[in-house]
Symmetry: C2
Subunit: 314 residues, 2 copies
């Protein structure tokens, strides 16, 4: 299959490119290197099954030329501002990078007759809803621009699926961790620890509790959903098993960094920043029924991710 991966030099995008190339697909990767990094896909660039195009999917002539050249059979649209805290500082950033990119990609697919889409959505569309959230849960009341923009983007994918028969698979990503990440709690802790090994500032009271999923397991989930979804428009949830508190993550990070005596200083409050959802849990039975499940419990995934990040050279 000849596919386009948008945001393919990013954290999750680059892991997806790895796996698609491994399984024999021909992969073109477009990335504006806003969050993505060339080093994430450097090892793929000599492979004839892979091609990197530096470009912005909001640049319409670039996107048009890409689709004209590529004659793709499918698009995996992962390009986004995935940094929720950063997005909240600017009301238009996520609207442009998350929602408008999606509309531009959908329009290009329509113009060029590309009929299969994977879209990376997020648990943030649910806001502070509690309980084990299944895919059809409502109401959807996001509390971050990230969540609102991805909700709007999901809406647009639904329109194109209906009106232009673009077969669509959506996976609503949970908290994903692993090497090549550019932000998030582990990244943040490692960065702070480098600056000051004696004290680690922890945003919130440390009791924020979420299921963490290692990026390799997430890519498995993407591909299981992609291969096995049997409806014209399918939505799936994936997440880690159980959950891990931010306090536990801090302890794992200081231990792994060889600084077990680092003092943890909590900023207090029930969340890390405005728009942070302190607790959440997914019902993942739909994807489990297709044969997927995470290989590690959440806290083991955190340990593994920290190891991999350090091994990758932080």
């Amino acid at each position: 299959m000849h596919v386009l991966v948008t945001g393919g030099a990013g954290f999750i995008g680059s892991h997806l490119c790895d796996r698609l190339v491994q399984r024999g697909d021909k992969v073109w990767c477009v990335d504006n290197l806003y969050l993505g990094q060339r080093r994430n896909i450097a090892h793929l660039e000599a492979n004839p099954a892979f091609r990197f195009i530096e470009g912005d999917v909001l640049d319409r002539p670039v996107l048009e030329a890409l689709f004209a050249d590529g004659r793709f059979e499918a698009v995996f649209h992962l390009a986004a501002n995935s940094d929720i805290a950063a997005g909240n500082a600017d009301a238009e950033l996520d609207l442009r990078l998350n929602q408008l990119t999606t509309l531009e990609v959908l329009e290009a697919m329509r113009r060029h007759g590309v009929k299969r889409l994977f879209f990376a959505s997020t648990s943030a569309i649910f806001g502070e809803a509690s309980g084990d959230l299944h895919e059809d849960f409502g109401p959807l009341q996001p509390i971050s621009f990230y969540g609102a923009s991805k909700l709007g983007a999901e809406g647009y994918t639904s329109v194109y699926a209906n009106q232009h028969a673009i077969r669509t698979v959506i996976l609503r990503f949970p908290n994903v961790i692993g090497e090549r990440s550019t932000h998030g709690v582990i990244f943040d802790f490692l960065r702070k620890l480098k600056a000051n090994p004696n004290e680690l500032e922890v945003l919130g009271d440390g009791n924020q509790q979420k299921p963490y999923l290692y990026v390799g397991d997430l890519v498995d989930a993407i591909l299981v959903a992609w291969d096995k979804a049997d409806a014209p428009f399918s939505v799936f949830h994936a997440s880690g098993i159980d959950s891990t508190s931010v306090r536990e993550i801090a302890e794992i990070v200081v231990a792994a960094a060889g600084r077990p005596d680092t003092r943890l200083r909590f900023t207090g409050g029930d969340r890390g920043w405005p728009g942070d959802v302190p607790k959440f849990s997914y019902d993942i039975s739909r994807l489990k029924a297709l044969g997927w499940q995470p290989r590690r419990h959440s806290t083991d995934a955190v340990r593994f991710a920290v190891e991999r990040i350090l091994a990758n050279g932080f």
Copy 2:
């Protein structure tokens, strides 16, 4: 209360301005006259409690000056492209006019500390979901740009409610009919009948079946929701009782226009246009519990609306 009504010269906006002025509020109405018409609010312009400002809420300096001058206590945000069929012809129109206007209004409210919002949403966010749809129903899979852009806009109101304590009431409008409408099935039939009194083209097979609500009843619903909602973020559904087929509407219109012998010609298919939702039904128990209910059954509302439109001078 000093309020701003965006889109206040439009079909529903102008009826809302009438009622707010009647009940003693001080009303400023902003409208770019894209769909709105000066004649809809002409009768209010001499009233010292009312002020019309011709302007576009996407024009940031205009909006900024308006909020600085107005010192509003609340905003009723109705400005939108409400013509679903027209919106579907241009992928960006509804994104700009429905979603970006909402974000601009929310940002202005945040900057100026305005803490109460009414937002006009729509049944179109549900796409083709069936059953009696209550306010918390999921999944939300719109099939029109109108629905997708309003879904995205709802998401943004939820973010501002959460992060900036903007107390928000959303009413998801159903099919609303009455004098001053600028499109919709009755308007469309009357326009066609004027052009050709011998034959009336009916889009679809005529079996599309929806509950219609007279605009006066909708404005009642807005004000009941506004006055009685007791949560920081409240969503309500309002609709007519029972439903009316497009065929029945055509028969009512030709009879009321004094052309009962007009031949009806159906274009066929289960819907009027791509993105049209042929059948839908709301659960309105939440708003009923606050004391609202429509005064007319759907088909009576259609008859009444046709009379009022003709009396208003079509």
